[in-house]
Amino acid sequence: MENNKAAANNKRRGFARHQREDMIGKIYTYLCVLMLIVVIVSIVYFVASKGLATFITDGVSPFEFLFGTHWSPDGTNPSFGALPFIAGSFVVSMLAALIAGPLSICAALFMTEIVPGKGKRILQPVIELLSGIPSVVYGFIGLTVLVPFISTVSGGNTLGYGVAAGALVLSVMILPTITSIAADALASLPRGMREASYALGATRWQTIYRVILPTLAPSLWTGIILGIARAFGEALAVQMVIGNAPFLPKSLLTSASTLTSVITLNMTNTSTGSVQNNVLWSMALMLLFMTFVFIIIVRLLQRRNKL
């Protein structure tokens, strides 16, 4: 009775109550999603329009930008070779992944395979805290501990600033990224797969090495790629320890630069619209572009993922 009356009431106003509610819900959530799309489109649009101005308005050759090794934007004969920075970004992030990758996968294995349950209880908070430590704090520790340490280890021949310091700081920063993705992948492996291997009389390492790792390879690579992506885009911690000399990274102990470090150092000292400023935006565009590349790689890997 009561219900019918309420329903009738609702009907009279055109929409039933639940239809009105659902309309509100839809409008709200759709708007939020629209917002996301607007944000990303405008980031890409604005960064691209500034970044391409270097080549379109200022007439810098994209070839020089991408492959030139000579960086001297303020020189009498300005040249805009950003290869040292592009290479620097790649080298430090790859090195970081090289260090963090095996460590992270071991950590994930420790959590799910070696000491299931307890291992997770120990390492999970550790990983979360590591990922919670702000990047400037990593940079600061790198600056005060790592850089002098590297300098001492090199016998005082170098300042300690350089690729090695950058890569080490980054490796700790991306450790949590890779570990948590690897741990999630391991946890998603059907329990039966592991047991089937054990039931055949395989040892734990054989199971890990022959069954688990091959099966999860795409997911583990995903973790590593996302770790590289994170390292590639990290700015301040690297800038604080890498030394920032605009040269191709030639050895672990020499100072080099990354795309992000050049941007942070020079963005505010150059005036908007100048070619020195625009070329920094081109580097930001490069960062954006690489983000897309990393995502595409991750997508391809996921397609290969059979789980």
Partner: protein, 298 residues
Amino acid sequence: MNAKTADKIATGVIIFFAIVIVAILGGLLGFILVRGLSHISWDFLTSPSQNFKAGGGIGPQLFNSLFLLVLTMIITVPLGLGGGIYMAEYAKENKITGFIRLVVEVLSSFPSIVVGLFGLLLFVNTFKLGYSLLAGAIALAIFNLPLMVRITEQSFRAVPREQKEAGLALGLSKWKIITSILLPVALPSLITGTILAAGRVFGEAAALLFTSGMTTPPLDFTDWNPLNPRSPINPLRSAETLAVHIWKVNSEGRIPDAKDVSAGASAVLVIMVLIFNLIARWFGRFVYRKITASKQVN
């Protein structure tokens, strides 16, 4: 090598690396706290910073970090909730959803410095907000949004499907089910996730260099009118946060005690992150218990 020896060695190596990681964290925390705690005092936490003399504090920076966090959350939470609810409850498995998923994924992988630069271009320059808390909050919100969407989506997806069906079977509208049945169940993990995300926002610096700026005007903590330029809560004033301060004193600043100030500020940042972690866990559990009236955790 026989299989069992290999097993033992491999196990040993894995355990060793796990210990290394724990040691790294221990070392980091130990260093930050030992180095920093001695420098932390009430005075350090409340007095203004110095630009060229030793002995400055981090009062305004600490306030800025917290206030910026609040502003950011005010922007992100409603947007992220909406987006996450869309992904969990409205999105059909089609191309559009695939595209939106890609958008979230890409957005969450954007380097924060790029988000900061975008903020500089659009909010600081084009919208003429200047280096301001508002511009910083919007940049951080963009930085945090994909995470919030993901947290919301996961929290909602973790709610047993049967809850939703039970609501449907009673003839409830979808929106009512979302807000009154699913949301309370999702709330604990939503809160935990949000607080953890907040911790990340708290320590972010790269996105802020170009948006909220690297300076704080002299603040008058007795003036709470948001329209006054010296009011701490004026959203249009520039604001250097704790994380930015650490970066600045190390790479641009001229104070002689830069190392001490950074150590103290780092310790404060890390302690805040620890507190965020603990609160997140505790509060999530607390809400869960409230909602289910059960003692079971998780």
